[in-house]
């Protein structure tokens, strides 16, 4: 059974200088900037899909539409056959920017996703468990600004995982981290995925991330974006790009596709 069906999604933005002046006449087609030009994809339950593509292609836009945070101009997104109508606590989004609420401690940030849980004990256990999972035990009562960038990312992952979402959306979750932290958090995401088997949709700029993590890689082309490549990765885990010839070949192929002649 297909978990998420993406059916011919198109998205255009009104060009800014025309907003207001010509009113909200959506029919003025000439004013649209096309961002997504007919994206179709079927995503299986529990699958980890990584989206790659040039900057400004529309990756964040696509992810937002899938999560119900933005509306497509045309086309349809179905979750288990049901159309997506808006944001929902079943699909948690980890944003490109820091989304922790700065007035809440790590504990409180994780807690507010679980605020409707009746059973106090279960709630506390779940918060504990997820904070431990991202190795932030001992920092429960720190405010986000008292944490490093990498720790904030991890806290955000813990918050997202704690609500036990059906689908996890991550928009460049590793951007802005130092290399080692990047690798560590990547490990954690992989472990969480192996453990919980959540459908995970991730946008990244790092091709290596996609190669190491993804069950499937989807590459978008320049704006207006179409899917220019879909690749299923059947490589065994844990993966090593240098040692696995198939992976390094795929890497070179994707680099070429994105217009970089990669020299290893």
């Amino acid at each position: 059974m297909n978990k998420i069906s993406i059916k011919n999604i198109k998205k255009g933005y009104k060009e800014r200088r025309n907003q207001g002046r010509k009113g909200s006449d959506a029919s003025v087609k000439g004013d649209d900037i096309m961002v997504l030009d007919g994206i179709s994809l079927e995503i299986e339950e529990g699958e980890m899909v990584c989206f790659l593509g040039p900057s400004g292609a529309g990756k964040s836009t696509l992810l937002r539409i899938l999560a119900g945070h933005d509306q497509a101009t045309s086309g349809e997104v179905l979750f288990n056959g049901q159309p997506v109508t808006g944001p929902s606590a079943d699909n948690i989004f980890v944003y490109q920017q820091n989304g922790l609420l700065p007035w809440y401690t790590v504990w409180e940030n994780v807690e507010f996703g679980l605020r409707n849980l009746e059973d106090e004990e279960e709630k506390n256990n779940r918060i504990h468990e997820h904070i431990a999972l991202v190795e932030l035990s001992g920092f429960e009562h720190h405010y986000p600004h008292q944490l490093s960038g990498g720790m904030q990312r991890r806290a955000e992952l813990a918050r997202a995982m704690a609500v036990n979402p059906d689908v996890l959306f991550m928009d460049e979750p590793f951007t802005g981290l130092d290399y080692l932290t990047h690798l560590k958090i990547r490990e954690e995401v992989i472990n969480m995925h192996t453990f919980y088997q959540k459908t995970t949709l991730m946008v990244t700029h790092f091709i290596e991330d996609a190669l190491v993590m993804a069950d499937r890689i989807v590459v978008l082309g320049e704006r207006p974006a179409k899917v220019i490549m879909v690749k299923k990765l059947d490589f065994s885990r844990p993966r090593n790009i240098e040692k696995d010839k198939g992976l390094s070949e795929l890497r070179d192929e994707i680099f070429l596709l994105l217009g970089v002649s990669y020299v290893a």
Partner: protein
């Protein structure tokens, strides 16, 4: 200078100097002490005004007006500020009116206030209310508008109801700035109450000063001024304690 006790005493040096200059000025200016009383005469005046309880009663009267006006402004101003910051249509309709009324000094309202409310508590409280209300609505609105959109996205992602958004996003986010506004408007209110009492009522520190001037008791006038200064200082000290609340602790760490 590294001795903490010495450092605590430093602020008092300027007050002490002021007293000396004051005394010397009176002595060598040749002015009558009716026009320019000496510090000792002012202390005597303070004693007289305190012993019959008048100074205390007037201080309480002024504080009462400031308190009621301030609370009224908070009860109406903060929610209105939040609405103006969150509801676009409301902002477009109401905000221009508020920004038009805001620069009108509360003192300019005195004639109307007296006509509408007569003489007594109400016009004075109304003026305090006005002096607190406009700055408070405006600053609350601005803080709500400057909350990062991502926090609202997160809230809707986690399925927050409208009430939860107010309680868990808007209020905590604006609290530090709102507390700063509280501190500021209490200062303004304390300025305005004295002026209001000179015209609209027959009690309070403002009235004390006006009444003493009419009786040519400059020592009492100065007692009134000094009392206003001291109470103002204490009010600000009390309001400053609010910035130490646990609820705004997070602000210390954020850049």
């Amino acid at each position: 200078m590294h001795n903490p006790i010495v450092r605590k005493l430093l602020p008092f040096i300027s007050f002490f100097l002021l007293l000396i200059i004051w005394e010397l000025t009176v002595r060598f200016s040749g002015w009558s002490t009716h026009v320019f009383p000496t510090p000792i005469e002012v202390v005597n005046g303070a004693y007289e005004l305190s012993s019959d309880g008048k100074l205390f009663k007037d201080s309480v009267a002024s504080l009462y007006r400031v308190t009621v006006g301030f609370y009224l402004a908070v009860i109406i101003g903060v929610p209105l500020g939040i609405i103006l910051g969150r509801v676009r249509v409301a902002n477009q309709i109401i905000n221009p009116l508020i920004q038009f009324l805001r620069p009108i000094s509360p003192l300019a309202w005195i004639p109307l206030a007296m006509l509408w409310f007569g003489i007594g508590e109400s016009p004075a409280i109304f003026l305090i209310f006005l002096s607190c209300f406009f700055p408070l609505v405006t600053s609350t609105m601005i803080s709500v508008l400057s909350i990062k959109p991502i926090y609202f996205q997160v809230a809707s992602n986690f399925g927050f109801t409208r009430q939860e958004v107010i309680k868990k996003v808007v209020l905590p986010a604006i609290l530090p700035e709102v507390i700063t506004s509280f501190r500021m408007i209490v200062g303004i209110a304390w300025l305005v109450v004295v002026a209001a009492e000179m015209i609209a009522v027959q009690s309070g520190l403002g009235y004390l000063i006006l009444d003493s001037r009419n009786a040519l008791r400059m020592d009492y006038v100065m007692v009134g001024m000094i009392t206003i200064g001291l109470i103002g200082l204490s009010l600000d000290y009390v309001m400053k304690q609010l910035t130490e609340l646990d609820e705004v602790e997070w602000r210390k760490f954020s850049s």
